[in-house]
């Protein structure tokens, strides 16, 4: 299935080739979890601080147990802040 992956700030370097404006569409296994995608892209889990699926926060304890659905957006940030 296809999902949209969005990687921001210092995680941008893990984006697959062809990504524009920090996002692109990728193919993942049916039922893949955010943790599966994070591992698949070679990203250190400890850097994946803010993980959102369609804008909704997924806590670290739920990242293995939350199956993604076709067309969903998975957006990830390292620890960031502003204001």
């Amino acid at each position: 299935m296809k999902i949209r992956i969005k990687l921001y700030a210092t995680l941008g370097k893990y984006l697959p080739k062809g990504a524009a404006r920090n996002e692109t569409e990728i193919e993942v296994a049916d039922g893949a979890s955010p943790a599966d995608v994070i591992r698949g892209l070679g990203m250190p889990a400890e850097l994946c601080h803010l993980v959102l699926v369609d804008g909704n926060y997924v806590a670290p304890s739920e990242r293995d147990a939350t199956p993604l659905k076709e067309g969903e957006s998975l957006a990830i940030w390292p620890p960031v802040a502003g204001g």
């Binding site: 969005k6 921001y8 700030a9 210092t10 941008g12 404006r21 920090n22 996002e23 601080h49 803010l50 959102l52 369609d54 804008g55 909704n56 926060y57 806590a59 957006s73 957006a75 940030w77 390292p78 620890p79 960031v80 802040a81 502003g82 204001g83």
Partner: protein, 615 residues
């Protein structure tokens, strides 16, 4: 101790500068800076005073850590009655001005009256005098600073000045120091303009001492280590600045756009922190040149940007050819997402203009967005705009409107009133995205519930810097809470408000709180000052300061009815994103908040609360 125990009182009407002792009894209770200067304002002025009259006073105040080697210890605040709101105004700025003032031997400057002619205040250590500024009036902030340094033959002078917006009494005019650091909000620049005071120029070489130097050094170094090792303050903020939030807040569905008509903006990725790092197609250069630090700051979140010389804003001129203060998140949001403009270069240009002529970009952008809504609704016509098509998404309209506002010309004169007065004038009061007359910043309360309560109860009108619950609700600092629920938000807001009052009164930057707790701050203050300072004592002082500000506003005429939000936020549900279908749950949070504060159902602090806090 770092207190010089000296206040400089400047009577602009009489043209006098006088030294007087700092009230140390008040300093013990109100810490310094925001808290202590508020105490002075409360004691010395009538809360019902016209903010732009000579009877209003303006205080420039440092904190106990200002000028010390504490990380970020360079802050000062401007405290006065704000013309945009009619409420207490307290605008905090970084840069180098505050530390220079303390190094000149002054804890605070109290400016009163009104000069019969334009002047600037010159301070060289203990020597203070008012200098004719007839040749500076009409000049920009940037030219003013350069001319003062040239005239006095000292490039190390630090200058805080107003531009044309402050001279023209634009109600959201700010005071700019070090050319791109701003005491930006609530119109403190208009108060300065109303007093015919163009600038304050300071040179200080006396040094700052602390009560226990060795203990202080250890505490300050421990604080710096925490900041360096924290992922946010050690890497995230230096690299991407506050602008890293643009895509975050858009993704969670809390980025107000189209003047609050939507909670997400299609152009967000074009104007955020990552976009500032991208090479432009036109010249191959990046918008972002480097980061920049204020006095004593190891975080270095400030942005330095350069404009694309082929962009319409500067094409054919050599103006703005040097890199200058770049976009912070709040400015990029207000000038961009709120107006639907996704042209990063245009936003950068207007941000430069805000620094150059002394305007608050949050209120400017939000008010232009309101004007765009009124124009598209036919309430403002070409007759008022002089033919300018003030449409959402138009970078040209944004730029022209900003230029007219700085100059106080045409529709710019109306925009300079702020969105509340603008929208009332044109018969659409609900189009103003403001609380107590001040425009709210870059977080939609429908998508981040705690921020609704934050805006509604902020003592200086809508503001994110009085209780930044975004840290918890979105970013997970210090712990993650659900942004879509009202549960627990009353307590969260109160905790943030009281702690923030401590940071704002201590002379340090609130951004340290992304890594520090009060337990990191306390040892630094305890070693800096005489007596015993604990986190509990500081937190109680924070609560005291909050209640003192509240009492000032009540005496100024505000009531619990003013603790509200724009109808759009309370009645119109978010249309997209995680908050789809939601409005602000302010009606649920506010009574609980009043109860936690020890206030009655009308939002008035009880006598027991005031007595407990010694207000």
């Amino acid at each position: 101790m770092s207190w010089t125990k000296k206040i400089l009182r400047v009577n602009l009407t009489e043209g006098t500068c006088a030294e007087e002792p700092l009230n140390m009894e008040w300093a013990e209770k109100y810490i310094g800076q925001r808290g202590l200067a508020t105490k002075y304002l409360v004691e010395e002025t009538d809360p019902k005073v016209d903010p732009l009259s000579p009877e209003n006073k303006m205080i420039m105040a440092t904190g106990p850590l200002t000028g010390t080697t504490a990380a970020t210890g360079g802050r000062y605040s401007v405290i006065t009655k704000g013309p945009l709101t009619g409420a207490i105004a307290c605008s905090n700025s970084g840069g180098f001005f505050g530390a220079e003032l303390k190094n000149a031997g002054w804890d605070m400057i109290i400016l009163e009256g009104k000069s019969p002619k334009p002047v600037y205040l010159s301070i060289e250590n203990d020597k203070a005098q008012l200098v004719d500024a007839g040749d500076l009036w009409g000049k920009s902030v940037w030219d003013t600073e350069d001319l003062i340094k040239e005239a006095r033959g000292d490039s190390n002078i630090r200058v805080a000045a107003i531009g044309k917006a402050g001279e023209n009494l634009a109600l959201f005019a700010g005071i700019i120091n070090d050319k791109d650091r701003a005491a930006g909000r609530s119109g403190v620049g208009a108060v300065m303009g109303s007093k015919n005071l163009k600038a304050v120029a300071v040179r200080g070489t006396l040094g700052v001492s602390v009560a226990d130097p060795m203990k202080f050094l250890a505490a300050a170094n421990a604080g710096k280590k925490v900041l360096a090792e924290n992922a946010v303050t050690g890497e995230g903020l230096p690299t991407y600045g506050t602008q890293v939030l643009m895509n975050v807040i858009n993704e969670v569905g809390a980025l107000p756009s189209h003047n609050g008509g939507a909670v997400q903006f299609d152009g967000a990725s074009k104007i955020g922190g990552e976009a500032m790092h991208e090479e432009r197609a036109t010249d191959g250069k990046k918008n972002l040149v480097s980061n920049h630090a204020c006095f004593g700051c190891p975080i270095s979140c400030g942005r330095v940007s350069q404009l694309d010389r082929t962009h319409f804003t500067v094409e054919g001129t050599d103006k703005y050819s040097e890199p200058s203060g770049g976009l912070e998140y709040e400015a990029a949001w207000a000038l961009g997402a709120a107006t639907d403009v996704d042209d990063l270069e245009a936003l950068t240009y207007v941000n430069f203009l805000c620094n150059e002529e002394g305007m608050d970009p949050i209120s400017l952008g939000s008010t232009i967005a309101a004007a765009m809504e009124l124009y598209e609704a036919g309430k403002i016509t070409d007759a008022e705009t002089g033919g300018l098509a003030l449409k959402f998404g138009s970078a040209e309209a944004l730029v022209k409107a900003a230029q007219m506002t700085a100059a106080g010309e045409g529709i710019g004169k109306d925009i300079g009133l702020g969105s509340k007065r603008l929208c009332e004038k044109y018969g659409s009061p609900d189009a103003s995205m403001s609380v107590k007359g001040q425009e709210f910043p870059a977080y939609d309360p429908r998508g981040i519930q705690g921020m609704g309560l934050t805006y509604a109860t902020s003592n200086r009108g809508a503001c994110h810097l009085r209780s930044y619950t975004v840290a918890s609700e979105i970013l997970g600092i210090p712990e993650k809470t659900d942004p879509l629920t009202t549960d627990g938000k009353a307590g969260l807001v109160k905790a943030f408000q009281d702690a923030t009052a401590v940071y704002d009164s201590a002379g340090i930057c609130i951004f340290t709180s992304f890594a520090w707790t009060l337990d990191d701050v306390t040892p630094q203050i305890d070693a800096d000052l005489e007596g015993e300072w604990t986190s509990d004592r500081l937190l109680e002082a924070g609560e005291r300061i909050w209640n003192l500000e509240r009492q000032y506003n009540i005496a100024a005429g505000f009531t619990g009815k003013d603790d509200t939000l724009p109808k759009r936020i309370l009645k119109d549900a978010a249309k997209t994103g995680p908050a789809e279908g939601k409005t602000s749950g302010l009606d649920v949070m506010l009574p609980e908040y009043y109860q936690l504060r020890g206030w009655n159902a009308d939002g008035v602090p009880s006598s027991e609360t005031l007595s407990r806090l010694g207000v």
